[in-house]
């Protein structure tokens, strides 16, 4: 009896606290406190994240022999593809220009960009997200593309706070990015994530000729995402004659787990 009375009181108090927190959050009264909490936790979590990343990379990368052999083979295959690609690109001026653009993307296009550090990964298993240490006060907005090494796109911002923001990675199911393939006909389509495990390019017309190892870049059809950002490389093609569209599996050049520094492009079509 006593327990029921005690637990009812506790439940009542908890419900009241939840309602109060909701009310204060959505009326933005709690905003200064929230900003202060994030400002205090951000450097601590950020520092731990950097240390864990370094430790994880050096000491916790346990891999089985089979996995290492498979990885070695994949890397050799990839090297062959890349060498072929390199010679092909180097022989043609237009494609050479494309490579240059990709390697020095941000500088070449003079996009307004912001360097941000990754301070953590999201806990809400519904999405593959990263937490950045920059937010609205640094000019970040929802929808802005986030790049890792050499202009490779890794996701888009889906939530911003005053001094932090959340990035939805391109391998998440809810992620959609308009892209095109760097082939003769510049085939356009949409890439979507597959449960954090891979990336699929959909809506490719059956008539389009695409090949494995073609490079996929953003198409520039989205307001905040400029065209030409590398997304990945076609790994395999799924073409069924009875289907209206074909699909391609895209392999990102990034290891999303090891990214610690990113560029956020502050771009709208008017900037271009």
């Amino acid at each position: 009896m006593l327990f029921i009375r005690k637990s009812s009181k506790m439940i009542f108090l908890t419900v009241v606290t939840i309602f109060l927190l909701f009310f204060l959050h959505y009326t933005k009264i709690l905003r200064p406190v929230e900003n202060a909490v994030i400002a205090i936790t951000r450097p601590v979590i950020g520092s731990v994240y950097r240390v864990s990343n370094a430790v994880g990379e050096n000491y916790l990368s346990f891999k089985s022999k089979t996995e290492l052999i498979r990885q070695n083979k994949d890397l050799k295959d990839q090297l062959t593809i890349l060498l072929n690609e390199k010679s092909k690109w180097l022989s043609e001026e237009e494609e050479n220009k494309f490579l240059r653009e990709q390697l020095n993307f941000v500088q070449d296009h003079e996009y307004d960009y912001m360097v941000a550090s990754v301070i953590g990964r999201g806990i809400d298993y519904s999405q593959n997200t990263l937490i950045l240490d920059k937010g609205t006060k640094h000019g970040l907005e929802v929808g802005m593309p986030v790049l890792a090494d050499k202009g490779t796109m890794m996701g888009k911002i889906i939530k911003t706070n005053k001094s932090s923001s959340v990035v939805l990675l391109i391998n998440d199911d809810l992620s959609k990015v308009a892209v095109k393939i760097q082939n003769q006909s510049k085939t356009i389509g949409i890439i979507e994530g597959e449960f954090g495990l891979g990336i699929k390019m959909r809506l490719i017309p059956q008539t389009e000729m695409i090949t494995e190892s073609d490079i996929v870049v953003t198409s520039g059809l989205e307001r905040q995402v400029p065209g030409g950002l590398i997304v990945g490389q076609i790994k395999s093609i799924d073409k069924e004659p009875e289907e209206l569209f074909q699909e391609a599996s895209i392999e990102s050049l990034l290891d999303f787990n090891k990214v610690t520094l990113v560029n956020v492009i502050r771009y709208t079509e008017d900037n271009d």
């Binding site: 959505y26 936790t41 979590i45 731990v48 953590g120 990964r121 999201g122 519904s126």
Partner: protein, 178 residues
Amino acid sequence: MISLIKHILVLFVLLSLQLAVVPFLPGEMSSLNVILVVTVFVCLVYRFSLGIAYAIFLGVVLDLLSAAHFGVVMITLLMTLYVVYLIFNHLLTNKSVYTLIGLTIIASFVYNIIFFIYKAMMYFLATKDVQILKQVMSFGFNDMLWQILFNSLLVIILFIVSHASSQRFKAVFIDTTR
């Protein structure tokens, strides 16, 4: 005052572990939910109200740093704790390491189910695709099994550490480990 500082430090350590250390653990160990395990542990071993306070604070911070809607993590944590506490008080008779492991498994299950419902709703609203829910369910189920396994291992470690270091703990638990 010292006690408050101690609790704040614990909360910071928990947040850092969950957001910055666990993601780098090898393989499926990265599915570990430190915050859930510790809040359940605190609720059962120390004070229920302290566990609730931990859940509210950690839930709010995680909600601010997460892409989910505000309140989702906090409510999920609190609902899980209440379910666990009700089972603990009404169905179980003794406190032991087995009780703790059993309740951690139940907590992990309940937490994942609530999160799955939220996740399914969000995916369905965004994609209007029923097929995707089946796929989400199969991936989620696999993750949940790993999480239950690692959460149970963590609670055993917590039990052993607390058992060895705290006199108070020994009095609360009937020692069924010997």
